[in-house]
């Protein structure tokens, strides 16, 4: 049986193991270490909620704090990725995407297409999404529907620690720009996670539970909410979990064709 670690620890482990395997991978973002230029400790924070703690000392020169410049460092991640390295940049709260949307929407997501297939932009943006911490309007959005409607972007929403590690490693290895959405209420969630490196393919969807009357399809934190609520209707509710919001087309037809044949199926 695999040991249990938290969603947050699974992300940290994915980063550490993949950075060890591939020296072109590096991390950048605001306070991903913390303490740059300050008289106290380096790695003072390891990210605002401590997700990247400990990586600064393990990987000298590859965990880069940035100034408060979303356009600057998200754009730098795009440029660096196009030049042959693999940045994992952190957008502290997904809401801050308003500051740097051009570099995501018009630059990273469009290079492959508008340069005739000659560019590859293997940049991952890790970002905190979702409500529930009473952080108010500007720190609580999901925006996954916005990302999903941008052609050229891949959108990943892990719903468990196992998902988080496997999908993040997949995201880092993928040669397309990826937005990796970490729900802030899931960081403490415990789950079984293999110790070795592994990947979960994008576009995968699977049924977690079977029922005869209705199917709930979801991603991210809502998978867990659906699983909890299911107890009120034993035998009636199927739960399907999707690992990615985009690209959706091919897996939607195959993975969920079973769902459509069931009576009363609906989407969450």
């Amino acid at each position: 049986m695999a040991r249990k670690i938290s969603y947050q620890q699974a992300i940290n482990e994915a980063l550490a193991q993949e950075m060890r395997r591939d020296t072109s991978v590096f991390i950048m973002g605001e306070d991903v270490a913390g303490g740059a230029g300050a008289p106290g400790e380096n790695d003072a924070w390891g990210g605002v909620l401590g997700v990247t703690k400990g990586l600064y000392d393990q990987f000298p020169g590859r965990v880069l704090d940035t100034p408060l410049s979303e356009i600057g460092y998200v754009g730098a991640a795009v440029g660096a990725a196009t030049c042959g390295v693999r940045p994992v940049c952190e957008l502290m709260f997904v809401n801050f995407a308003g500051c740097c949307l051009d570099q995501i929407l018009n630059q990273a997501a469009k290079f492959r297409y508008m340069f005739g297939g000659k560019a590859s932009t293997p940049r991952v943006i890790r970002t905190m999404v979702g409500a529930g911490l009473r952080a108010a309007a500007q720190h609580s959005q999901m925006l996954t529907s916005l990302w999903t409607h941008i052609p050229g972007l891949k959108v990943v929403c892990p719903s468990s620690p196992y998902d988080a590690k496997g999908l993040l490693i997949q995201a880092i290895r993928d040669n397309d720009p990826v937005i990796f959405c970490e729900h802030k209420l899931l960081y403490g969630m415990q789950g079984e996670v293999p110790e070795e490196l592994y990947t979960i393919p994008f576009g995968e969807a699977n049924f977690l539970r079977d029922g005869k009357d209705v199917t709930l399809v979801s991603y991210g934190r809502m998978v867990n909410t659906a699983m909890t609520r299911r107890a009120a209707w034993p035998g009636a509710v199927s739960i399907a979990r999707s690992s990615t919001c985009a690209p959706p087309a091919r897996w939607t037809r195959t993975a969920f064709s079973k769902a459509w044949r069931r009576p009363g199926a609906w989407w969450s």
């Binding site: 100034p67 410049s69 600057g72 390295v85 570099q103 005739g116 297939g117 994008f202 690209p247």
Partner: protein
């Protein structure tokens, strides 16, 4: 201290500038026929800037450009026929006809793309310079933006970051006096764009963009600084564009004989020819020969581009991603 240019380097510089000028003047004529899709933004008049900077760069150095990018692409060594075919939206274009004038790119030549979003190239070259550092090379990364672009937050953030990280970048502000229809002496709050450099912890100079040698010298010093690990610089190149913001722009915001004055009294190709022939470094016959060869190059490029096939309908859906699940 810069070293004198060799005979071959001088001839190459003239060839680059003449190629840009001929390419753009021809596009001005051809665009009016309605055969070229989309928009074009011509670089004619600004040639000394691209030629003077690119003379110091190799294929391993990267540049990012803007919507007025044809000159930067040609000076960086992107294939002229491939560019023309791309502008005509043909399958044989450098981006397979899917980018057009504003998205010409050639990564093998270190050309990270003309860019339709003003100012967007600045953070990209910070990233390119960061990649060079992480890979342990001595490559530099250069971004070209205009006086309008110099007011974009992306440029401010990139300049600050380049200094904080001491990256091998060069920021070139091509101040042609107009951001679309708005004069830069109105929209830029300080006297010179170069004055902003001090605010971002880097040296800044203003140079005469009609003078190839002035640009060449300033760029050489800045690039040497960057390669030596001494960090980024800003160069403001003051020049003019002979045509409108886009082809079709009536330019009623300009004074009546403004462009005529620049063409007759300050043109960069005219100045280059006068100085090099007067100094006995190049002969008029050599320069005339270059002129003829360039005309032939452009003629062939246009002829082939016109008859080349367009992309197929199925190409509309390819290369949205590298990999599909």
């Amino acid at each position: 201290m810069s070293t004198p240019l060799t005979h071959d380097q001088l001839l190459h510089a003239y060839q680059v500038m003449r190629t840009i000028r001929a390419f753009e003047e021809r596009l001005h004529v051809e665009f009016a026929t309605g055969e070229i899709p989309g928009f074009v933004h011509l670089y004619a008049g600004e040639e000394a800037s691209a030629a003077g900077v690119m003379a110091h760069l190799g294929d391993d150095d990267c540049i990012a450009s803007n919507h007025r990018g044809h000159g930067h692409c040609i000076a960086k060594g992107v294939d002229v026929y491939g560019m023309m075919a791309e502008i005509y939206g043909k399958k044989t274009g450098v981006c397979q006809g899917k980018g057009g004038s504003m998205h010409i790119a050639d990564f093998e030549k270190g050309m990270l793309g003309a860019n339709g979003i003003v100012g967007a190239g600045a953070p990209l070259v910070v990233g390119a310079a960061l990649a060079a550092r992480l890979k342990g090379t001595d490559s530099v990364a250069v971004v070209f933006f205009g006086d309008g672009g110099s007011n974009e937050g992306a440029v401010f953030e990139a300049m600050n970051m380049a200094s904080v990280w001491n990256l091998p970048c060069l920021f070139i502000a091509e101040n042609n006096g107009y951001a679309e229809a708005t004069a830069s002496n109105w929209s830029v709050a300080c006297d010179h764009i170069a004055d902003r450099a001090a605010g971002f912890g880097m040296p800044g100079v203003t140079v005469d963009g009609f003078d190839f040698f002035a640009v060449h010298e300033a760029a050489g010093a800045a690039i040497e600084r960057a390669r030596a690990g001494e960090g980024p610089s800003l160069i403001e190149v003051k020049l003019t564009r002979y045509y409108g913001h886009f082809e079709g722009d009536a330019q009623t915001y300009r004074a009546p004989d403004e462009v005529k004055h620049f063409r007759e009294h300050q043109d960069c190709l005219m100045q280059f020819r006068e100085r090099t022939t007067r100094a006995g470094l190049l002969s008029a016959e050599q320069l005339d020969q270059v002129d003829r060869e360039v005309e032939l190059l452009i003629d062939n490029a246009v002829r082939k581009a016109k008859s080349d096939p367009k992309p197929a309908a199925a190409d509309l859906l390819t290369d949205v991603y590298v990999s599909y699940p």
